[in-house]
């Protein structure tokens, strides 16, 4: 029975003690070198086959990448994305069994400005990576994150998805491809070599101000991720790529899943951690490394000399409790040492997640979050969990400020610009919004503040709330926010004249 001093050691099963003289469980001949999962020891050769096969199987099983498509590989320089790059190289090589059939390109985003690296450090990292990229022969694009400040607002608008293909289309496309050109015509279109363009000091400062305006590390990471995603999607669109490959591995996705739940991103879990992510419409993001644990990747990279570059991040050398993600990571990795099936269990759970597809039309953009482009999870009924959080927020604020001062909005709002009479200072290129003359109120008059919260999903609202000011948000975000708000106001104004479906 349970007692204070009772020892359980004898009854607990010991994990089998493995030894170096153990033979590979697959070929039973060579001596084992790596332990995969709990207790499966593979030799070098079998491990390599297993690793390579998993990549092909992942792509083949999902049948999302069609032959001849242009696929953009997002490489951060870290082990997972570099491993992904080497797998793509392996898969495209002539002698590959069931070789891959798409046109890859590489993109690297230099985030050194956001984390405070010097120009020399950034240039050094870029040079190292250029060597790696050139060796692959694929076209590559190296961009500084500062470019995100100049993006057009179309990047946060979901584009029209490509026409829905029937399942048989994949097989037909493969057959067609094999007939027309076989294996010879997979030469890369052009070899573009775009190295890091010079970054203006002022841009770097703006970026740092933006990141710095987020008060918590969690919010800063979230913001950085959002900006990076926007820049990736923009690059894919402008350079003509229809797919984006991300290097998230199993361990990172397990951590991401738990972190997302803590951050209130439960509704977006399937898209955040699944194999394919179609939130952008025209570009589909895929995660072919999601079946590999960080350990497998590290072993493979070491054994087979896959080059990767160490790039510090916002979290480097931070303490365990510095951010929600860090805490989750430490929790999962610690649990994993004693229970080696932790990560794979979380992963299996994530595979079962699906998004509830609401029948919103794709061109009704007000249904999507402004920052993360996922469907808004905040438009729900009275008795929902979301309403409960809103009410408790209101109640706690009223108590804090004392009765009589009910404050609805705790997040920073864009300060009402003190517009002089007749002067419309709207963001869209300085032209008058026309309302003052037509009798309505001017858009930049004291009444209008951009209520960002209504345009964001729950967790993006939390991120914005952690920012001391939204003034530093890039222009493309603010102008799109303004546009959506105006449309929504206009819709309210004419709502009685609109025909509703089913009425």
């Amino acid at each position: 029975m349970c007692q204070v001093d009772e020892e359980y050691h004898d009854q607990l099963e010991r994990t089998d003690v493995l030894s170096a003289s153990q033979k590979c469980v697959r070929c039973k001949e060579a001596s084992a070198a790596v332990v995969i999962r709990a207790g499966d020891a593979y030799c070098r050769g079998c491990f390599k086959e297993y690793f390579i096969h998993k990549f092909r199987a992942m792509l083949g099983k999902n049948r999302i990448i069609f032959p001849g498509e242009k696929v953009l590989l997002a490489v951060s320089g870290g082990p997972s994305s570099c491993s992904m790059l080497s797998q793509v190289q392996e898969g495209l090589s002539q002698k590959a069994h069931k070789k891959l059939r798409f046109f890859p390109g590489i993109v690297y985003i230099d985030e050194g400005g956001a984390i405070g690296q010097s120009t020399e450090e950034r240039q050094r990292t870029v040079s190292e990576l250029e060597v790696v990229f050139k060796a692959t022969g694929f076209p590559f694009h190296i961009l500084p994150l500062e470019q995100v400040l100049d993006l057009p607002s179309s990047v946060v608008v979901m584009a029209l998805p490509p026409l829905e293909q029937p399942p048989s289309a994949y097989k037909a496309a493969v057959d067609r491809f094999n007939q027309t050109c076989g294996s010879d015509c997979l030469t890369p279109p052009e070899k573009q070599k775009k190295s890091l363009p010079d970054v203006h000091e002022s841009h770097t400062q703006l970026l740092q101000q933006l990141i710095g305006s987020a008060k918590t590390l969690t919010a800063r990471e979230d913001l950085l991720n959002t900006l990076r995603q926007h820049l990736l999607v923009y690059t894919a669109r402008t350079e003509g790529y229809s797919k984006l490959m991300l290097g998230d591995n199993c361990t990172r996705l397990a951590i991401k899943l738990l972190t997302s739940i803590s951050l209130g991103r439960g509704a977006q879990l399937a898209q955040d951690t699944g194999f394919s992510d179609s939130r952008y419409g025209d570009i589909i993001a895929v995660r072919p490394m999601r079946d590999y644990s960080a350990k497998e990747i590290a072993h493979y990279n070491h054994m087979f000399d896959v080059p990767s570059v160490l790039i510090p991040s916002l979290e480097t050398k931070t303490s365990e409790k510095a951010s929600i993600r860090r805490l989750t990571e430490s929790f999962v990795t610690k649990l994993q040492t004693d229970f080696p099936s932790t990560v794979s269990t979380i992963y299996r759970t994530s595979e079962k997640l699906q998004t509830v597809c609401r029948s919103s039309s794709t061109d009704d953009h007000s249904d999507r979050c402004l920052l993360c482009l996922c469907i808004l999870d905040t438009a729900v009924e009275k008795a929902s969990a979301f309403q409960a959080t809103l009410i408790s927020e209101q109640v706690s604020q009223t108590l804090f400020l004392g009765p009589g001062i009910p404050r609805q909005n705790s997040g920073p709002e864009r300060p009402a610009s003190a517009a002089s009479a007749g002067q419309c200072r709207s963001l869209s290129g300085g032209e008058d919004c026309g309302r003052a003359t037509s009798g309505g109120s001017c858009c930049s008059s004291a009444k209008e503040t951009i209520n960002l919260k209504s345009l964001l999903c729950y967790s993006c609202q939390l991120t914005i709330r952690d920012m001391s000011s939204v003034d530093h948000l890039p222009l493309y975000i603010m102008s799109e926010a303004q546009r959506r708000q105006r449309r929504s106001q206009m819709r309210d104004e004419i709502s009685e004249f609109l025909l509703n479906d089913g009425v």
């Binding site: 591995n249 070491h302 160490l310």
Partner: protein, 110 residues
């Protein structure tokens, strides 16, 4: 075989080459490769002692990011002569001359 003097038992010097990778090198002043000769002692060196030795002599900062209790922090892989240390007995593995130990941090980057 070494001839051991009965009155003064001695073990050969052990020279160990170890690498820190994947971010672990940040804790060693960015140095990735360390050629180390361990002081001789009566019993053979094992991994547990090596870790203690590393902490005392080489770890430049933030020991909690490398070690946890007796072992390495979860998330840091250890390879002994290119094989997973789980196959070699982990902390109990006894070092031999010219052994090659690699520490790879998997917590960084992706």
């Amino acid at each position: 075989m070494h001839h051991l003097d009965a009155t003064k038992p001695r073990i050969i010097y052990e020279s160990v080459l170890f690498f820190s990778r994947g971010g672990a090198e940040l804790l060693f002043n960015g140095v990735k490769e360390h050629h180390v000769t361990l002081p001789s002692q009566s019993e053979p060196w094992d991994m547990k002692q090596l870790l203690v030795w590393i902490q005392r002599n080489l770890l430049k900062e933030r020991p909690e990011l490398f070690l946890q209790g007796d072992s390495v922090r979860p998330g840091i892989l250890v390879l002994i002569n290119d094989a997973d240390w789980e196959l070699m007995g982990e902390l109990e593995y006894q070092l031999q001359d010219r052994d090659n130990v690699v520490f790879i941090s998997t917590l960084h980057g992706g």
